[in-house]
Symmetry: C2
Subunit: 424 residues, 2 copies
């Protein structure tokens, strides 16, 4: 009977292709960096896209109160519909409704963070083999999600010299019959740019001409500095269907709560029932946001005082001005002035820093020598820039800028070409 | 110049294959039913797998307090790591740790509900073209997720006459070289069954022989009636790697909070680093659970009093006994006695109810005449049964059973075959 023993196979468990194709460029780059801060200087991280980490940007008391009220009501512990409570969807619809782009509860799908909103939007619009157009530089999640789903991405260029407007010709040249969606992120991570109405209309004209729906990542919507205006895309078009993705994370400063949404704008009936039903179906895979946050949503949207939003924006503007003007005067650096969101991109004139190979090398040494960490923009597919997050306390921002100055002064080498020019 | 007008394409946006392939059999069946209750009788829904809807099963005060403390600490508003806070993972590890199957924080991945735990587990183990083995009758999400990802499902049979134990021969016969995972749901939705240690060992022996990893859906873990014992699978094997999926939804009665987890059990190193890294990567797609709930998790696990668990189980047992004994004495019905969870399956001797075509038809008429709604088990791929949820208040359960009796008495027809037998 020992001979009759069933042949035991060997264990051979491999991670799926999808998991292997779920690539996080920020993690990949940061994990590959040797980040050993200078022991004599306290670390200052200008890299973290989480406005809560330094404690200087708490959410509003009304927001916390809304959560407590939702808890105390004992009404929000059970399952919500997979697309969210009707009342909460209605609250979002009312908040974002405009005469030009009306919204009803049915046009809103609540999700687990803006990330899931983006995931559902991409998943419903694209099949494997399709492609989507994403900004470069841009937030990496679009690529992470698309590639893992077998969807190709095509990067369109943003123009730093035009405050990161889209290179429309380049954009249009990328469109082909497999293009399923155009992703527009305004205000932008990592650029901090805010598009004018005219530029958004130009983008919409391209989408309209080629009949490409838009995924508008408007998570930083309304987070624009006082002299600028945020235009949501949907009211600016009559025909281009738009899935606008947003959430509580940034404007209400509670990214951990994972409350996001999709606003379905489709006045031209181009999405029709099919996309709506597709989104509902996809929402049933894992259900959406925590019901306590959903229960608090109406009060959060309606009771947060204007001063809270203004104070946040005031702080972000002031800090970004401090940073922009400090870095503007540093030879070798070219910061691009932001108009909103929480970020600032800084160009490095690599030829003036011959010791360093690229932005990754540059920012790595900035940590080693000055204990200041900025994310190399290679993480956004945009080499030779780095991104600064302007949510840190003002004194840290000032200190960080002076350390960056010291670092640059130490390593800056004037180019021969330039000195030749000057000689002439 | 009018002639040079650029040819405008037509809008032709279709929902993706994935969204079309995300099928929810419960929704499909329920939406297809004509549910018009008898206006003279108040509706009693025995169909809803949400223990909170009737208000008779509130969560514990300590659980709510833990949430408020997490809120008040102001520490849990920012982003958590994508796999969850280290401290919260540690709390789960400690709670489920056993000498036979030790767990550390790194073995725990926090997710948005047990649903996302299942999604990540399937996504990391399977490629399109693989198959997974799922119970029949069984919770429909396994199939929903798998099919949408291009993974085939194979149903293995549960045996009602053996308290829904797995037909092991049938199970083993389904395994082929494409089988990537065996899903075991214990205690079971929809059966309310609880497997013995011996049966679990037999299942593990099959998995071990064929080197198939197990997805153990243990969301109803520990929810077993006093005379039964819940055995988690992991401590019962030394070689079979297990992803155990669970969460707060059922035992703590807060399904809306979307707090779930995966426990990685891999003492034999069959998953190795690859599966762990795959899970981490997948967790970065949309991030996981709400940080407030994560922040409360340690206190929830450690402070919820034993009486709370006992009271819940006591109620579920008492209600299921009431239901089981009432339905046992109804000619034409064959309830299967449950040992845990919140469900009870009832067989319908369809030949004795010739007016009705099947379980869907039967339960539809039960609504029309008696305003009692039970989910037809066709929703679990198991025709001619229906599922009862035993979380309703006792008086409703009693009333529902007496209405079911009335309905059955009205429609029951003895079979010719049986009367012949009696004549002999
Ligand atoms: C442009 C952009 N979109 C979406 C997100 C994701 O938002 P959430 O945290 O709500 O998932 C972020 C987060 O940093 C972002 O910068
Ligand atoms: C067997 C089983 N697994 C998983 C789940 C999903 O749990 P959650 O609500 O935490 O996603 C359920 C919910 O009903 C279930 O019955």
């Amino acid at each position: 009977s020992a001979k009759m023993k069933i042949h035991k196979k060997r264990w051979n468990i491999r991670a799926s292709e999808m998991s292997k194709n779920t690539l996080n460029p920020i993690r990949a780059i940061v994990d590959g960096m040797k980040l050993s801060p200078n022991p004599d200087k306290a670390m200052i991280a200008l890299s973290i896209g989480d406005p809560t980490v330094f404690g200087n940007l708490p959410t509003d008391e009304k927001v916390l109160q809304a959560m407590k009220d939702a808890m105390d009501s004992h009404k929000y512990n059970g399952y919500a519909p997979s697309v969210g409570y009707q009342k909460s969807r209605e609250a979002v619809a009312n908040f974002y409704c405009s005469p030009e782009a009306p919204l009803e509860a049915d046009d809103v799908i609540l999700t687990s963070g803006c990330s899931q909103a983006i995931e559902l939007a991409i998943s419903v619009l694209c099949n494997p083999g399709n492609n989507i157009l994403v900004p470069c530089p841009g937030f990496s999640l679009y690529k992470t999600l698309a590639v893992s789903l077998g969807i190709e991405i095509k990067h369109y260029n943003l123009l730093p010299e035009k405050s990161w407007e889209i290179d429309l010709q380049n954009l249009e040249s990328l469109i082909d019959e497999k293009t399923a969606c155009l992703v527009v992120n305004n205000p932008s991570n990592p650029c901090g740019s805010v598009y004018s109405k005219e530029h958004l209309q130009d983008i919409l004209a391209v989408a309209s001409r080629h009949c490409i729906p838009i995924l508008a990542d408007e998570i930083y919507g309304d987070m624009v500095f006082p002299e600028h205006t945020f235009y949501s895309m949907a009211p600016l078009t009559n025909d281009v269907p738009i899935l606008s993705c947003g959430g509580l994370a940034k404007r209400w400063l509670v990214p951990g709560w994972r409350m996001g949404w999709i606003l379905i704008h489709d006045r031209n009936q181009a999405f029709g029932q099919e996309i709506r039903e597709g989104l509902v179906k996809l929402s049933q895979r894992i259900l959406g946001a925590c019901t306590i946050v959903q229960g608090a949503l109406e009060a959060i949207l309606n009771s947060t005082p204007q001063e809270f939003y203004q104070d946040t924006i005031g702080f972000l503007k002031s800090n970004s001005e401090i940073c922009f003007s400090a870095l503007s005067s540093i030879p070798g650096l070219n910061p691009v002035r932001p108009s909103g969101a929480m970020y600032l991109m800084v160009g490095i004139e690599m030829e003036n820093f011959p010791e360093f190979e690229n932005d990754v090398d540059f920012t790595e040494h900035l940590v080693t020598e000055q204990s200041v960490f900025c994310l190399p923009a290679t993480a956004f597919e945009y080499p030779n820039y780095f991104r600064i997050v302007v949510t840190v306390p003002e004194d840290m921002m000032v200190e960080a800028c002076s350390r960056i100055r010291e670092f640059c002064q130490l390593h800056y080498r004037p180019c021969n070409q330039e000195s030749n020019d000057l000689d002439q």
